[in-house]
């Protein structure tokens, strides 16, 4: 169900200053209330009721993640905010940093207090210069007002927020890689366990939250966390609140929009995105960043079992299922980052896959053989088919390569490469075969709508 909200985006059109944030959306009232009237434990218990599923892609419940943090006898704790935003097709966090930076700082204050940290690092990809500038500006304003520093809101609980930058590596969005990068090392993912809550930044207990996850916290505490959760159409299955949705690719009006959790893909495309370019029919959608397997327009939900949470949509188009962490898992893909990439009929699926395999080949950190070699071979083999040099054996090879990555790598980058590859191969088998037999050639291949 489509329901527009403006908890995060009201100030987008009004200005990014502290003054606007306080006057227009009662900014910093939530942090003030939390620090002055609540205990840590109480904050975490409240936060759980918000049912904020991590906005970074994996959808882990934020409150539960916070509850993993235990005070350490000698080590400090850290809050690390993931603003690496590099997942192809994802363009939401940037809007928050540029247009509502104070929601992030306020979220960091509440988050630090909740997990027992005195320092938060916001890890921003280096390319986002305006975002970094706006964040530093917001930090400065908040410090001047006494909301950050030794005694925020007069409370004897020091909090500092710093912006840290990467240097152009998609893998640094993976949380343990990000921590290595924060420590000044190569951004290579770490073996888990230990998990960040045990040994994260600088070997200390750490929580890593996505940027939108933390920015949504003040709104949740303003409304009361349970009320916030209930805004969502999927509150009953533990997927609460409001989110930013991105719409890109072949739509008339690409954009970022704030909605109560639970719109359908069709609603995003036609009611928000203005429909498809040239009024073409829909071919497929990548639901939440390039690592999430695509959904074809003609796919229907298969949930005959009455106990299935998707049973209400049995026989209906997958494009009419509300977007949620568990509903998307139910239709064989992932919700990911809630930014959808729309492809109109006529888009060449082999060329689209080639584009993405080039991405994964370029970005693999190279630590694990199946990922390093697999991503390179996937790229080369799709290229070979695309160039008209491939055979049906190459299609089988592609599937083998992807299957060999699954479950055999250190971090989720591997699955993020293999799963979308397998979806392309399975769902566009005919087109891949047409390349293998020469029935289709790259001379006709297009990614754009004329």
């Amino acid at each position: 169900m489509l329901r527009r909200t403006d908890y995060l985006t009201k100030v987008y059109a009004l200005g990014h200053s502290l003054e606007v944030y306080e006057r227009q959306v009662q900014g910093y009232q939530a942090a003030r209330k939390v620090l002055l009237t609540m205990t840590r434990e109480h904050v975490v218990d409240e936060a759980k009721k918000a049912n904020i599923r991590g906005r970074g892609g994996a959808g882990f419940p934020m409150g539960i993640k916070w509850s993993f943090m235990r005070p350490h006898p000698t080590k400090p704790a850290y809050l690390v905010i993931n603003a690496d935003e590099g997942e192809p097709g994802t363009h939401k966090d940037r809007t928050l940093m540029e247009l509502n930076p104070h929601s992030i700082i306020e979220g960091c204050i509440i988050g630090c207090y909740a997990i027992g940290a005195n320092v938060a690092y916001i890890y921003v990809r280096d390319e986002l210069h305006l975002s970094k500038e706006r964040l530093w500006g917001a930090i400065k304003e908040a410090r001047a007002k006494g909301y950050l520093g030794k005694t925020p809101f007069g409370k004897n609980y020091p909090i500092e927020v710093h912006v840290h930058t990467g240097a152009g590596a998609y893998i640094c969005g993976e949380e343990t890689s990000l921590l290595n990068s924060l420590e000044g090392r190569r951004g290579e993912p770490r073996l888990k366990p230990p998990f960040p809550a045990q040994a994260g930044a600088f070997g200390c207990p750490t929580t890593v939250n996505n940027l939108e996850t933390i920015a949504t916290v003040p709104a949740a505490f303003m409304l009361g966390c349970e009320n916030y959760s209930k805004l969502s159409a999927l509150h009953h299955i533990g997927d609460g609140g409001v989110r930013l949705y991105g719409i890109n690719g072949h739509v008339k009006k690409p954009c970022v929009v704030e909605l109560a959790v639970g719109p359908t893909i069709n609603e995003l495309i036609y009611d928000i995105g203005g429909g498809i370019l040239g009024d073409k029919p829909l071919m497929c959608v990548i639901p939440g960043g390039s690592s999430t397997p695509l959904l074809r327009a003609d796919e229907v939900v298969n949930a005959p079992d009455e106990k299935s949470p998707l049973h209400a949509w049995h026989g209906k188009s997958v494009m009419d299922v509300p977007l949620g962490v568990d509903t998307m898992r139910g239709v064989g893909t992932m919700l990911g980052t809630c930014c959808i990439t729309v492809m109109a009929e006529g888009t060449d699926p082999v060329l689209a896959m080639l584009n993405l395999m080039q991405f994964y080949h370029h970005e693999s950190c190279g630590q694990c053989t199946p990922c390093r070699e697999g991503s390179a071979w996937l790229d080369r083999t799709v290229q070979k088919l695309y160039d008209g040099q491939g055979t049906t054996d190459d299609i089988a090879l592609l599937a083998d390569l992807a299957n060999n990555i699954m479950g055999n790598t250190l971090c989720a980058f591997g699955e993020g490469t293999a799963m979308p590859a397998l979806a392309f191969l399975k769902k566009y088998r005919k087109e891949f075969e047409a390349y293998a037999t020469g029935a289709r050639t790259k001379a006709q291949a297009r990614l754009t709508v004329d």
Binding site: G86, P88, H91, L130, F202, N248, T341, N355
Partner: protein
């Protein structure tokens, strides 16, 4: 010739060092400061960072080679990065790249003879909703049209 930061950048480094519990954590921020000043990360820069932060040169070298944005050789005065990833490609990134190559008379990965512009492709720059797009030095240019691309590149050529 030994490398040294300008006094303003040296001050910025001192500020950066206060943010972290270790000196090593300043490796990437300091490399950015050095590259801002020097254009690329030379052997001298690596020595400088190593000494400033008390980390082995091999550590700095390892970091430099890991991250795409550190230039391991000199580059042009201006950096043009055209996003090539799927959401941008669906909205014409291929044509943007072709237009840049034609107008600048170079291929992706090359620098113009006068040393003014280096042209490269980038992976998704978090602007898929305003595609196609490119980054020129520190600025994003979004919703590109052939006319705008032409104007942007002309400005760089005349700079």
């Amino acid at each position: 010739m030994a490398f040294a930061l300008t006094p303003e950048r040296e001050n910025e480094l001192q500020d950066i060092l206060t943010r972290y519990p270790t000196r090593m954590a300043a490796t990437i921020p300091l490399l950015h400061l050095c590259q801002d000043q020097n254009g690329w990360v030379s052997e001298e820069v690596i020595q400088f960072v190593s000494q400033k932060l008390d980390v082995p040169p091999a550590h700095v070298q390892g970091v430099v080679t890991f991250y795409t944005l550190f230039n391991q050789k000199p580059v042009g005065k201006h950096q043009v990065w055209v996003c090539r990833t799927l959401p941008c490609a669906l909205r014409g990134a291929g044509d943007v790249i072709a237009q840049c190559e034609k107008k600048l008379g170079i291929h992706v990965g090359e620098t113009t003879k006068d040393g003014k512009v280096t042209l490269r492709t980038a992976e998704c720059l978090a602007s898929c909703g305003t595609a196609p797009m490119m980054q020129v030095d520190k600025d994003y240019h979004e919703n590109l049209t052939p006319e705008r691309i032409d104007a942007i590149l002309t400005r760089l050529q005349e700079s």
